[in-house]
């Protein structure tokens, strides 16, 4: 944590009350404007020439250059605003987890997810891409379609701030309905703790990529959910719909840690196979990890495009 800039420290961020300021501070501290839209198209901004090859649109042949060089060149332009990104934020009860220990440095999981979603929205809008937000639990709570207007950020922040975690997590139905709403190519960013008791969780997420959406999964867990640091006789009451359970965490700590590690490994392997990007974040870690991953992904998309 020592190498994290103050603007990225989750603890410091958590003390900032406004999500909007938090997101902007995070992005502005992180960005220096070097990023580009990975998609090339017929935008106003010229990008480069390309030797004509059959199949290229003849409307893009630069006839002036033909006259000068007697060679057919096709003009290429940067299409910086045509990315449609949809952020899916898990608003189920489990996201409301916060440590019972006041001195725990890790921030509330929901706050972390909100900040990440806000920061990503701000970053995307800054790049003149369109960003939308869908919050859900076992169904869609709210949906903001992607827009690229800077003022759109205000809508997203509003929804994020008003999101109260509740209910259980069910991806299947939500993704079904969402995939119908999202048209064409785009980017889907899913932020969740993935505490869903669905057998077809991976199958549901696969639906996103199969629709031609680039998908990034941010798996967010609180350190307590990783390490189970509690002591004594504890009655665990579920934030979703599980029955309470009384036990000594000492007895199951090892088994739990193994189980959660297995789960993370299983996600990592399964999503890699499906071509879905999977990023694991624990709330004690800096948020720039998430932003970084997004930028890297965008860059790779640019290269892929070029």
């Amino acid at each position: 944590m020592a190498d994290i800039s103050p603007s990225m420290d989750p603890e410091i961020l958590s003390k900032t009350s406004s999500l909007k300021i938090r997101a902007r501070t995070l992005v502005e501290g992180f960005l220096s404007g070097q990023h580009k839209s990975p998609h090339k198209g017929s935008s106003v901004e010229f990008a480069e020439y390309k030797t004509y090859s059959p199949g290229d649109d003849i409307r893009h042949i630069d006839w002036k250059a033909v006259g000068k060089t007697d060679k057919y060149h096709v003009k290429q332009f940067e299409q910086s605003t045509n990315l449609k990104c949809t952020i899916m934020l898990d608003g189920s009860g489990s996201m409301a987890y916060e440590s019972p220990y006041k001195k725990n440095p890790a921030i509330n999981k929901m706050e972390y997810a909100r900040t990440l979603a806000g920061a990503l929205s701000y970053l995307i809008l800054n790049q003149f891409d369109a960003v939308g937000l869908t919050t859900f639990n076992d169904k869609t709570i709210s949906h903001i379609p992607p827009r690229s207007k800077p003022s759109h950020f205000q809508h997203i922040i509003h929804d994020l701030e008003n999101l109260i975690p509740s209910g259980i997590t069910r991806f299947g139905q939500v993704i079904d309905s969402l995939s119908e709403r999202i048209s064409g190519r785009g980017l889907a960013i899913v932020i969740s703790d993935f505490f869903a008791r669905e057998d077809d969780l991976i199958k549901s997420l696969k639906l996103l990529s199969s629709r031609g959406l680039e998908t990034i999964l941010f798996h967010i867990l609180h350190p307590d959910e990783l390490h189970l640091p509690f002591e004594g006789d504890v009655v665990f009451e579920s934030l979703e719909d599980d029955l309470p359970i009384g036990l000594d965490p000492h007895d199951i700590r090892e088994a739990y840690q193994n189980l959660i590690a297995e789960k993370i490994d299983s996600f990592k392997n399964s999503f890699q196979t499906l071509g879905i990007d999977y990023v694991f974040l624990d709330t004690s870690k800096s948020l720039d990890q998430g932003l970084n991953y997004y930028l890297l992904k965008r860059k790779s998309l640019q290269k892929w495009r070029s």
């Binding site: 009860g93 489990s94 996201m95 409301a96 987890y97 019972p100 999981k109 703790d193 505490f195 008791r197 609180h222 959910e225 189970l228 509690f230 004594g232 006789d233 504890v234 009655v235 665990f236 009451e237 579920s238 934030l239 979703e240 599980d242 029955l243 309470p244 359970i245 009384g246 036990l247 000594d248 000492h250 007895d251 199951i252 090892e254 088994a255 739990y256 193994n258 189980l259 959660i260 789960k263």
Partner: protein, 713 residues
Amino acid sequence: MALNFSSPIFLFGLLAASIPVLIHLLTRRQQTHIKFSAVYLLMQSQKRSIKRSQPNKLLLLLLRCLAIAFLSLGLAHPLYSLGTSNSSLPTTPSANAIIIDDSYSMGWKSEKSNVFKYAIDAASKIIDQLAEGSSTYLILTSDPDKLVEGSGDNSKTLLKKLKFTQPSFLNADIGSSFSTAMEALESSKLKEKRIYVITDGDKNAWDDSKFSDINDRLNSVTTTIFDLNFLRKGINKAAINNLETRQEFLTNSKFVRVKTKIVNLSEKKSIEKLSVGLHVNGKVISESSIHIDANSTAIKEFSFPQFGIEPSIGFVELEDDALIADNRNFFAYRSNQKIPVLAVDGDPKTVATQSETFYLERALNPFYGSHSDIEPSVSTLEELPSRDLQNFSVIFLCNVRELPPGYEFELEQFVNAGGSLFISLGDQVEPKFYNEKLGNLLPVVIQNINQALNPKDQFKLSFKKTDHPVLKGFEEKIVREMEAIKFNSFFKVEPRIDANFKIPLRFSDGTAAAVETQFGKGKVILFVSTADRDWNDFPIQPTFLPWIQRWVKYAAHSLDTFSQGNLLPGTPFFWKGNLDQNYWIQSPDNKTHYFKNPEDGFPNTFRPGIYRIFSNPKSTNLPQKNSINYPNLPPEAELVGTFSVNIDSRESQSENITENEIKTILPLANLVLIKNYNELEQPTNSAATPLAMPLLLMAAFALCLEGLLLRRE
């Protein structure tokens, strides 16, 4: 089916089983509630985890509690038995009379000391199992008239005391005990009435004549008889049923012969070598072995020399067998003791018959043989200083004019130490000397001679009814003869001021014929006439001999000494005491009993052994009643007699009473006869299974398991 505990005090240890629970409760962590996101994962983890600390804690707690509980139960020595004793005990409040046979045959050896111990345990068990509100009456067959009544506590207290005692030395009287029990039960308002008899089933205790009064009343009572005969271990081989002592006269030495009759109690088996020993005055005098044929009696005789005047006290003892009480028989023998008497002749003559002591000497030892109890020696006044007075019990001064100078002090010393002085007067006597020099010894002043001038005026003795030991034994005929004795002369005496004396014999005119006084431990007797025929014809009268001999024996304290033979335990001892004397009896257990009036009898003869009788002159500061356990025997008390108490060996020849015989004796009774000790749920019964070891092993196992679980944690 029952569970009994030999040491129930350890059951308090069960309370300690709560200690782990208390520790658990006191150290229990506060349960916290945490809202958690992945509870379903916790459930899955719990299924996968091998650790179970919460159940383990409860298991550990349980094991610790069990270990303590098992330990307590094990130390309490539980005995598990399958019995049906409850059927013999009432479940509702009841009046219960428990008759315990404490006859000496109950001292028969058994696994637990003797059968009597089992009987006490059985009685305790019955009392413990009685329903609340029941009343209990306890009767011992040795003392059937005595009843201990209580709601349980009194009886328990008595039973506790009895636990540390041995059975009595008496025979059982179950019939009389039944009468006492019935009287007690009939006075009770409770409807349910029961009699329990705990006995060794000896037939001798069931005298059917004693049941005749109560037989028709017994149908209202349930009678349960516990026959503990089967608990007897070993054989009662032999018993002494008679012992006689007598003195041998064939030798010059004094030998005492002890003759015992020893019974072989077996009807079939002869005893090849039975060790018999004679113990006298604390020493083993003789030991030998005898052979006795089956069902027969052997006679064994011992003899031993007797020295001194103290009685020989001892016992004959057989080797130990199953019943020890009948192996010993006590005796006390006091041989006739010669009383050495010194007669000082104040008027010796060359013709023997004219000497002052001629008649006296013959009266004291009429046949010159060794059979007489009195051994007289005659001395002249000149020889007197050369005589050692300590060798004599009684000294006669017969018509002595005056003693050698200073000799009166020796006489005073002699009498003070317990010797006796008998003074007869005569014409030689110088009253002045007697009155001046022997003033300490004589309570009277000798005055002038009273002389009858005419035969008609001769003086005669007068007898009134008296308790004086010397005179009270004389028959009427002898008294009449003595009243005919003629006295020509005698010295008149006048009492000294403040003198303490008795006048056991008077003349018909009331003047004193004899004066007696106590000086120190001894006696001084003054006869105011002569011991020869000079002043009277008494010496030639037939009554002179017993009269003078009795005086000697009285003076030498041997008149009332006696040794009395066998008494049975519990039989009162009667003897004719002297009203002037106090009497104490020392029993074999060294307790001293004071007896104000011996003629009432001494009842505390419950213990076999030798009882010693002591006496001393009466004093005023003694209890007005007979007193048992008088603190100390007065130092001046003298041993005057002994008697022995020996058991009645009837119960030695033991025969177990049968159920039919009991039914014949008690035809109307609702009878339950129990010959199985299990039915008393006695913990010591061999049929009961001891559970101590399994419980202790279980405690150890629980501790090991607890250790293993801790190690796994």
